[in-house]
């Protein structure tokens, strides 16, 4: 759906040249929610803005739906842009227009006639759950509602791709969840390809299928979310993983735990589908042991969970041995923790 080849953007300022994006190769498939994560200044916004040519690349190509956007100019480019919706961190609504008029804006741009505009706006208002607020002005809406208008507006011309630049960064956690839920629903119902820029791990975790990690203008790691975050290769990626599951913390806290009278302390690392309580509860039912969860950090992603758990497995030496074997078969990495 989207192919980026050797993509590069250099900003020339008076004092220096800033390579905001360099050497990016990315492939985003149709219907995918693709996350791009990185710290401030990594070049995420620049990258996403090149996907609709808001920022013309210095070199390389941007192919969307089989069309190389870098080769388009004028009317052709404007038509291609109508197939790519975009939402922004600060919503960027026209304050002089009502909700309905804001949603109608891209339809006016595309030359849709008035009657058709009205039906479409009505549909979109329903889709994003803003019934009854059609004639409100943006200043009368909450952040979450404004972003809903932004989403409706981005979807008005039935685009194939939705670009989100920090779409939830200005929202509180609950509103963030509801907006992420809405984006997920849209992705599933309309089969829309979504590109999500963020610096927040939980956004990636909650909605994305694949992720690319950016640092200093380059993509340093990419792949399915679960793979990338279970086996982070780069320091940046490890940093992001820590935002959710922080093994360092657990190491520190394990020190405060008294050595058990019987059995073993163990750190379990969960991978994908094997994650979560079912494994532990099945373990208790299968083997003659008790399991005390002392600490746990689990993160759920679209395709499964990952994380670690510090447990006390209590039972006879033989039973504990069996428990470790059971866990290994279940695909859970178990590591004995010694405290003294």
């Amino acid at each position: 759906m989207i192919r980026l080849k050797q993509l590069e953007k250099v900003f020339q300022t008076k004092t220096q040249n800033v390579a905001a994006v360099q050497n990016v190769e990315l492939s985003i498939e149709e219907g995918e929610i693709f996350g791009i994560i990185g710290y401030s200044g990594a070049g995420k916004s620049t990258l996403v803005r090149m996907l609709n040519m808001l920022e013309p690349p210095t070199s390389g190509s941007v192919e969307v739906s089989g069309q190389d956007l870098t080769k388009l100019r004028g009317q052709k480019l404007r038509e291609a842009r109508q197939d790519i919706g975009m939402i922004f961190q600060h919503f960027n609504l026209l304050w002089s227009r009502t909700v309905a008029e804001n949603i109608a804006f891209p339809l006016e741009v595309a030359g849709v006639d008035k009657a058709e505009r009205e039906t479409r706006v009505h549909e979109l208002v329903g889709l994003v759950g803003l019934e009854g607020r059609e004639s409100a002005y943006p200043s009368q809406l909450s952040g979450g509602q404004k972003q809903r208008v932004g989403i409706a507006r981005a979807l008005a011309n039935r685009p194939k791709v939705l670009l989100c630049d920090e779409a939830t960064s200005a929202l509180d956690p609950e509103t963030t969840d509801s907006i992420l839920q809405l984006i997920t629903n849209i992705n599933q119902e309309l089969g829309l390809t979504v590109v999500m820029i963020t610096h927040e791990m939980h956004v990636i975790r909650k909605v994305c299928h694949k992720v690319a990690v950016m640092e200093n203008g380059g993509v340093v790691e990419q792949g399915p979310v679960l793979d990338v975050f279970q086996r982070p290769q780069q320091e940046v990626t490890k940093g992001f993983v820590k935002q959710i599951a922080a093994p360092d913390d657990e190491q520190a806290e394990a020190e405060g735990i008294a050595p058990p009278e019987r059995g073993q302390l163990a750190r379990l690392s969960f991978v994908g589908a094997s994650a979560g309580e079912p494994v532990v509860s099945r373990l208790i039912r299968t083997v003659e042991v008790d399991v005390n969860i002392l600490q746990g950090r689990l993160a759920t992603t679209v395709e499964g969970s990952y994380g670690t758990m510090l447990v006390h497995i209590d039972g006879t030496a033989k039973a504990v041995e069996e428990a470790f074997q059971y866990l290994e078969k279940a695909g859970v990495e178990a590591e004995v923790v010694r405290v003294d």
Binding site: F88, L93, S96
Partner: protein
Amino acid sequence: MIKTLFPNVDWMDMWEATEETIYMTGVSVIATFILGILLGLMLYLTSRGNFWENKGLHQLVGAYVNITRSIPFIILIILLIPLSEWLLGTFLGPTAALLALIVGAAPFYARLVEIGLREVDHGVVQAAEAMGASQRQIIWKVLLPESMPALVSGITVTSIALVSYTAMAGVIGAGGLGDLAFREGFQRGNPDITITSTILILILVFIMQWIGDWVTNRLDKR
């Protein structure tokens, strides 16, 4: 009562002068609004990082605006006499005054328009671009509507300045309240005429300010 307070006021003359002032102000405000927006758009669009970024053109328009804006109005009228003669065949009368009024006020308003346009959120313009809007659509559907409260409050300030310009236009026989106050009031020693003209001008200014504020508030949905 009125007769004793204002013994020398000829109310017919007074009304005629008021009409002339309203005529000169009204026509020049409309022309200034259109011309000022055109010039202001030119200034804005040719500035750095905008659609028609063009340093030379930007500086040229800027220089024209700054120069005409800085010339005292009374001198501008005299400087424009040859142009009025060439364009209108005469340099006297209210219509000749209109030329000077518009030439004097449009650059002043153009600066206010430019400031108003600069205040339009750049993100909104980018959002429109991302939706595939053309430059013309962005100007008509984003820049002008989003800056409209600033444009209206700017034209209010400008029209009040225009009222005082009309007073000076008396030197080329344009008539109006200012001219009446000067010739009939001051020169002939009739302070009641001066005071009445002043009161009428004040009323005019207050009405314009009130309309301007009301429209600005109606438009401003921020």
